[in-house]
């Protein structure tokens, strides 16, 4: 994986992001919805459009947007005049916090279950866990969120039903108590995303382990009398983790997609909710901005996975790894 490969991949990533931004820009501007509601007078609307530069020809608007973007300026929100960059910067920590917590649960639980199932393949624990993970994997995330809210938020009252922190006691993090409060608020939304993700990870990891189990070097390891533990951990797991790295990159789109729904349900002040609200308000700059950030995250995830795989497995350095399970992405 030389510098040339990396450079080519980076350029390709930038090109992809550029294409996404262009696509989103065009999509917004050919949509029939008007930025001002029917109740606003026509003359006022025209004036507003002139102010925001929406009366210019489309190519000119596009060019201006790109130039501004190159300067790191994503425009100002139509709804409240705040810079889009500030709005996104204000919400991203929350999304990262949620996604990070979900990712930890997803990988720890998913890997553990997948490995355990592969070791006990086709025995009772594997079959039971296989059915359970298949079921959880099939749940709509938003419905699972409602279910968890109903049981743990309303009936048992173990966790808060929404928001990222207690608005009275902890509007900002300023003590250890508030850190705990933050985590306590993260529990349910992160558990929702993490559980569904973990079910997918477990299924993936089990299959990867079994795929490796058929390889000659595993048989050799067993034949030369290595203890089973060592065969599983050193030979099987290590090689099965290679394909898992690819899945790591694919987790990003899942978490982002889930974030829109989960953040809406849990009143979580993250980027997904920002995007959703902006779409309903037809707040174009915010919509384009969030879509841009989202695609950057997706592309960066893929790139990161490619690099990690390349570092871990010299055989794959020549070309990008083929997608293992893009169907669900």
């Amino acid at each position: 994986m030389g510098a040339a490969w990396l450079l080519r991949r980076l350029l390709a990533s930038v090109a992809i992001i550029f294409a996404v931004v262009t696509f989103v820009f065009i999509l917004i501007h050919v949509a029939p919805g008007r930025p001002c509601p029917e109740t606003v007078e026509r003359a006022v609307c025209e004036e507003l459009k002139r102010q925001f530069g929406l009366d210019r020809p489309l190519p000119e608007q596009y060019w201006r947007y790109l130039v501004a973007l190159a300067h790191g300026n994503m425009g100002n929100s139509y709804a409240n005049g705040r810079p889009v960059r500030a709005a996104i910067a204000g919400t991203i920590p929350f999304t990262l916090q949620l996604a990070g917590a979900a990712l930890v649960l997803d990988f720890l639980l998913g890997l553990g279950l997948g490995i355990y199932q592969a070791v006990r393949v086709n025995r009772i624990p594997d079959v039971v866990l296989g059915n359970v993970t298949l079921f959880i994997y099939s749940l709509p995330t938003f419905w699972l969120a409602l279910l968890l809210l109903l049981v743990f938020g309303e009936k048992l009252r173990w966790f808060p039903v929404g928001g990222a922190s207690d608005p009275v006691l902890c509007p900002v993090v300023h003590s250890l108590f508030c850190v705990a409060d933050r985590l306590w608020h993260t529990a349910l939304p992160a558990a929702t995303l993490g559980l569904v993700g973990a079910a997918g990870t477990a299924r993936f990891q089990r299959a990867a382990m079994l795929e490796v189990a058929r390889q000659d070097y595993v048989r050799t390891a067993r034949a030369k009398g290595l203890p089973e533990r060592r065969v599983v951990l050193r030979h099987q797991l290590r090689n099965a983790l290679l394909s898992f790295v690819t899945r790591f990159g694919l987790a990003f789109p899942f978490l982002l997609t889930g974030a829109v729904l989960i953040e809406t349900i849990f009143a979580w002040p993250g980027m997904g909710r920002l995007a959703f609200d902006a779409i309903l308000l037809r707040d174009y700059p915010v919509v384009t901005g969030t879509a841009l950030i989202a695609s950057v995250v997706v592309v960066a995830g893929n790139l990161l996975a490619d690099i990690l795989v390349g570092l871990a497995d010299p055989r794959l350095r020549v070309r990008a790894p083929t997608d293992v399970e893009v169907v669900t992405a």
């Binding site: 992809i16 949509a31 099939s138 995007a275």
Partner: protein, 308 residues
């Protein structure tokens, strides 16, 4: 629930059992399809799907009430499940069972049609890219790269919200158009390896045109991944439709879809959980069955995954 609806439900159950039995019986003759039925979950999944499709088709027979009718907004609002209202009534006093049954038509229909659009498009693009290679392949696959990088839910939200509620057909097409990228990569990879095989080379040597080679020789041999991704695709589209409807921008209410029902009743989930839980359970059941069937097909058509 009247005697008639119970009877119709019973008949649906019997017909389902019979269909699965016959399929299973016929499958025993082929090694491949015997593997398909080897897993109990797959057989159950097939049964559940068959049953739901029958129920959806026979909706007027198995649904005791008009799905949109508000039976008695004063006395029958949020009525818990009982023998008269099998799954209870919702916040507008509509019968949840009847809405679930009619919702199956819409939800399954959108799932199947959306997946059909996606798989057809993905297969076509994948086959063309893999078969012709060179610049066609390069152009198409870079397009797919962009498609996979699109934050899909954002795009769908935008399309649906900006157009102010799409009609049915448009919704299906938009969902289909944003769901084919993964399939096309799978098919391309398959076609790339198939086109080097002797029988394809022979067909071309005999003078078969590209179209004939692709459709008669290459694609039939790439059926396994296509079928699997179709089965998974139906589930994905179903979930997507439910998510959009849940956010209030999918299928317009009062049309019953499972997503709509959850959206309508989620605010009253604490007092009347049944009207939210049952439609969600229906979605899960369908997606679960589809995943199980996809697992079975993968097993049946890919002997390598024997250990699984």
């Amino acid at each position: 629930m009247t005697l008639g609806t119970w009877l119709a439900l019973f008949v649906a159950l019997v017909v389902t059992a019979e269909i699965v039995r016959v399929l299973r019986h016929r499958a025993m003759r082929h090694e491949r399809w015997r593997r398909f039925f080897r897993h109990r979950t797959t057989t159950w999944g097939l049964g559940i799907l068959t049953f739901l499709v029958i129920v959806a088709l026979a909706a007027p027979l198995v649904a005791p009430y008009d799905p949109d009718k508000q039976l008695d907004i004063v006395h029958l609002k949020n009525h818990p499940p009982s023998w008269t209202f099998l799954l209870g009534t919702d916040v507008l006093s509509r019968d949840v069972w009847s809405r679930t049954v009619y919702g199956a038509r819409v939800s399954l229909g959108i799932g199947a049609l959306g997946a059909l659009v996606a798989v057809a498009l993905g297969t076509l693009v994948g086959a063309v890219a893999g078969y012709y290679q060179r610049w066609i392949d390069a152009v198409l696959m870079r397009g797919v790269d962009v498609g996979l990088a699109l934050p899909r839910i954002f795009i769908l939200l935008m399309a649906v919200a900006l157009w102010d509620g799409l009609p049915f057909a448009a919704l299906i097409i938009v969902i289909g158009l944003t769901s084919w990228f993964g399939t096309s990569r799978l098919v391309r990879a398959e076609v790339l390896s198939l086109r080097q095989r002797d029988f394809v080379v022979a067909a071309r040597a005999l003078g078969a045109g590209s179209g004939r080679v692709i459709f008669r020789h290459v694609l039939p041999n790439a059926a396994a991944p296509i079928i699997v991704s179709a089965a998974l695709g139906v589930g994905n589209v179903l979930l997507l439709e439910a998510s959009l409807s849940f956010l209030g921008i999918g299928v317009k209410p009062p049309e019953p879809t499972w997503g709509n029902m959850i959206a309508d009743n989620a605010p009253s989930i604490y007092t009347a959980p049944w009207s939210t839980l049952f439609p969600g359970l229906a979605i899960s059941l369908v997606v679960l069955s589809l995943n199980a069937v996809a697992d079975g097909v993968r097993d049946a058509l890919d002997p390598r995954a024997e250990a699984a």
